[in-house]
């Protein structure tokens, strides 16, 4: 931190009866060539001691006026004979004024709180900025909970801006929400940078921290472990803020399978990047726990709910027998559940029964239809065979970054993943057995998941719950959206820290921004990439900061460097899936299996092998396929190119 306070004042406080100063606002004028602008932090040196102390007041410029000594524009018209181009330059420039309004950031001393006195106005030095924003409290020796957000720059002052980890990650306050227009607000870059900053500076005394990011669109977050191109200015800012200009060291990716089950449904499918990509697949048990996420509450009434509870408690994963059933069932997969329902309904029909254990046959048919349909609606995520591949619950790494790619999934599947992952995080954090004490969850497109005027969905209730109670658990929500006004008030309202990138003018016209001056709103509407306005509990006014481009590979660059692989044939997919169990399996072995037994049969055994994880894969397949009929002529494996969302080529902060 440098302190190069200019000795000369750049302005003087003025107050008139019509434009008085107050404890929260003051006015000052400057020379015409002053470097002051909207967002500049200034220091006022009071001249009159109060209780023996000369007050010092810090403020941030929120508005500015400029006018000349003309009483009416008509006078200027007269002066130029009505011709803007003539008659040549006047030898004397008109007197004009730059009059600024500043909102008070801090009074020193804090008491007695008085109107801002007349006095000289100085450009705030780096040390002044620290005091003005109360950062001195948590950057002091013994506290050290600062998380660098960016750099405040104005008039030659170059001051790091730190957030307080106690108020960003908890427990005093928590959560961070970022708003801005798509493509210009650099929301994703800001979150990547902030996560890197947290990982670099989060105090060891607060325990390990990890992050779970949901990649909801394109390749935004799919190359966080790869270095990105940085300019010298970015590197300098990284160094200034003490954040290594390196990609994230420990990133793991999770993605469901494609509907065909051949490969993972993610744009990070290049073979060179598969070492840290894992499938995200859940079985019946995992899904039934969150069935209500997928079921329409208007459709599933109390009777249906009761039957679902019965299945969960009495049928699932246990031997279940009943006189109506033709045989005992142990249901652990969707296929098993379908068989159980089929057997039950057939038995009821044969006995001409309308009900079974208080459940009407219509209810049973409806529940069967809804539950079994889940496997279809969430194909790729929900495995019919019950293979579970999940996040490493209980073994989260400190500074680990876990990216769940849901970009290509249907809305239902996305909701299911949000619901389960966040619920699991919560449960493990409550029990203290997640492996880390704090988890930052990043959710983009909050407009959709927690809309203010949308339906009361399970996901929205869950986000509200995190926003309101997550900080006590160490579950921290970093969220982003284009239109803050369209997100549920309690979600954004509970975010202790709010970041704003370039904003849409219509959005700025909504009531939520009325507290900002027109000048600040204008600046928000014209922010450059890499600039943010930040609100933080310690900052009594919004502050503008710059942040560096994160040192990770942008999604677009990653897609060019590691283009997604075409969906492989079943043989290649089989080998890829079994590679963690046995990396010596040759392609010819897989080709033989598929040729002999067909794709469907081989994939069935693959699911089982992944579930049971046999020591000898070849032998397992041989035993499982023994006696099975050879397959008919296999259909040629279809390959389809993956759709890649186009982004502007000249966007340095692009995804």
């Amino acid at each position: 931190m440098t302190d190069s306070a200019p000795a000369a004042p750049l302005g003087r406080v003025v107050a008139t009866e019509r434009r008085p100063n107050t404890p929260h606002e003051f006015h000052f004028w400057t020379a015409l060539d002053s470097p002051v602008g909207i967002g500049t932090i200034v220091r006022v040196a009071g001249t009159q001691a109060v209780l023996g102390v000369r007050p010092v007041i810090y403020g941030v410029v929120t508005d500015g006026l400029s006018y000349s000594d003309l009483a009416t524009p008509l006078h200027d018209v007269l002066g130029f004979d009505g011709r803007p181009a003539g008659p040549g330059a006047a030898p004397t420039h008109r007197t004009e004024i730059r009059l600024y309004t500043a909102a008070v950031l801090r009074h020193v001393p804090e008491e007695p709180l008085q109107p801002v006195p007349l006095g000289e106005v100085f450009l705030a030095s780096a040390a002044d900025v620290s005091v003005a924003l109360r950062m001195d409290g948590y950057l002091a020796e013994g506290a050290q909970t600062g998380i660098p957000l960016g750099v405040y720059r104005a008039g030659g002052t170059d001051a790091p801006i730190w957030l307080d980890a106690d108020f960003l990650v908890g427990p005093e306050a928590a959560h961070c929400n970022i708003s801005g227009v798509s493509g210009l607000a650099t929301k994703t870059s800001a979150v990547e940078w902030l996560l890197a900053s947290i990982f670099a500076h989060f105090p060891a005394s607060k325990g390990p921290v990890a992050a779970v990011c949901f990649n909801v669109k394109g390749p935004d977050l799919l190359f966080l472990d790869q270095p990105g191109a940085l300019e010298d200015a970015d590197r300098a800012m990284h160094e200034q803020l003490g954040v290594p200009a390196e990609p994230f060291a420990a990133v793991r990716y999770f993605a469901p399978l494609t509907a065909g089950g051949m490969s993972l449904d993610t744009l990070r499918s290049h073979e060179a990047l598969q070492h840290n990509v894992s499938p995200l697949t859940w079985g019946l048990r995992e899904v039934l726990q969150y069935a209500e996420v997928l079921l329409n509450r208007d459709d599933v009434d109390a009777k249906a709910d009761a039957l679902i509870d019965f299945v969960k408690e009495r049928v699932l994963d246990q031997l279940f027998s009943d006189e109506v059933l033709s045989q005992p069932h142990t249901v652990s997969t969707f296929a098993g559940l379908e068989a159980w329902f089929r057997d039950l309904l057939r038995g009821m029909e044969s006995r001409n029964q309308d009900g079974w254990r208080t459940h009407h046959v219509a209810t049973i048919r409806k529940v069967r239809n809804r539950l079994v349909n889940i496997a279809t609606r969430c194909a790729g995520l929900v495995t019919d065979g019950g293979v579970v591949s999940d996040l490493p619950w209980g073994a989260f790494d400190d500074r680990g970054l876990y990216v769940v790619d849901v970009a290509n999934l249907e809305e239902d599947a996305q909701d299911l993943i949000f619901a389960r992952v966040i619920s699991m995080l919560r449960e493990h954090l409550e029990r203290g057995d997640l492996g880390v004490r704090q988890v930052v969850v990043f959710v983009d497109e909050l407009n959709r998941y927690a809309a203010s005027d949308g339906p009361d969905t399970y996901v929205r209730r869950m986000l509200l719950d995190i926003a309101e109670r997550g900080r006590y658990l160490g579950l921290v929500l970093f969220s982003a959206q284009q239109f803050r006004s369209q997100v549920h008030r309690r979600v954004v309202g509970n975010a202790g820290t709010a970041l704003f990138g370039r904003m849409d003018a219509d959005e700025l016209a909504t009531p939520g921004y009325a507290v900002l001056s027109p000048a600040v709103r204008t600046r928000l509407a014209t922010l450059e990439k890499g600039q943010l306005m930040v609100r933080h509990p310690h900052f009594t006014q919004p502050i503008f900061v710059r942040f560096p481009r994160p040192a990770v590979c942008r999604g677009r660059d990653g897609m060019e460097r590691w283009p997604p692989a075409a969906e492989p044939g079943v043989e290649v997919a089989l080998l890829r899936a079994l590679k963690p169990l046995d990396d010596t399996l040759p392609l010819a072995w897989a080709q033989d299996l598929v040729a002999l037994h067909g794709e469907e049969e081989v994939l069935r055994v693959r699911h089982a092998a992944l579930r049971e994880r046999p020591a000898n894969v070849r032998e397992y397949f041989q035993r499982a396929l023994r006696g099975r009929a050879p397959a008919r002529e296999p259909a040629p494996a279809a390959t389809r190119p993956r759709a890649v969302r186009r982004v502007p080529d000249d966007d340095p902060y692009g995804p």
Partner: protein, 343 residues
Amino acid sequence: MTVPAGAAAGAAAGQAALLAMARRTLGAASPRALVSGAGGAPMEVARDARDEARLSPARVIEGDTVRAHRVAGEPDATFGAFLDGIQRTERVGYLDAAPIVLGSVAAVVRERHEGRLRTWGGGFARETRVYLPLALLPADVPAQFEERGFAIADTLAGRRDRAVDRSAGPHPLELERAACDAIREHRGAMERRLADAWVERGPGALCVDGPLPGDAASRSPAVTGVVKSHRELQVAGEALRVVLALAAGERSSVLERTSATRVSVATWYLRLRDPAGRHPLWGLVRVEAAHAPGGDGVALAARADAVSRMVLAESRPLALPDSRWDVMVYPIRDCEEFLRASL
């Protein structure tokens, strides 16, 4: 009370405080004191209303008669600085029939640098005095003002020829007028000091609001006076008709303005703006410049044209919203604004 030069900002509030302090001092000086309150006509206005317009024809020194001359050449903005002064007169109150007046004067030289005006180093002065007719007051009254830090001045100074009868005394309004005259003299002296300083060490040409102040300025070719007021006209008869008929960009023949108390100067009328549809004196100024006796007529005309070009160059920007914008050059308005802010 002399206020340090350069302490202009916030002086308006200071002036009010000084007046309030002066009134408290008078109230404490004598139970017979009648302390003035706020309001009432400004003293300068009351005094100015008693002035009378008059004709004082001056000798023509460019040719034989007053003629109109088109100012040749383009306007030439070579004035480097501008000088103006102001005064403020406030009634503190009366003790019996003796008025006590608070007079503040200020003057400034504003230097032009890249089109912007700024105060020339050492070119600002401001002083406040309490004016009392000492001969009519008990000795302890001025003493009390002095104790409070006020500089005091005798309203009757320079009027010793008048016998002051403490029992009868002059008319109170006559004493007020005397105070105004004293304050105006004080302002004139301050302007002279600044003009002298400029003549001594100022870089470039100085434009003064009003007649040339003092002998040094009247002899210096670097100083030009621009007179806006025409209560006293230097022409009469046919010459007056010529002057009133001057078109925009025309000047009159040069005259010689003489006085028993000051150095003779060259002067001429100059029309800054077209008066069509307005008063015949609209846009008309009288220019004063140093007069070097013995010069030839060609040089005199060339000098008058050169100075006129400099004045015409200052006709923009308009000095609006000042009501005298037709005759006021903008930098002089800037000086006035500066001085108003300082008093």
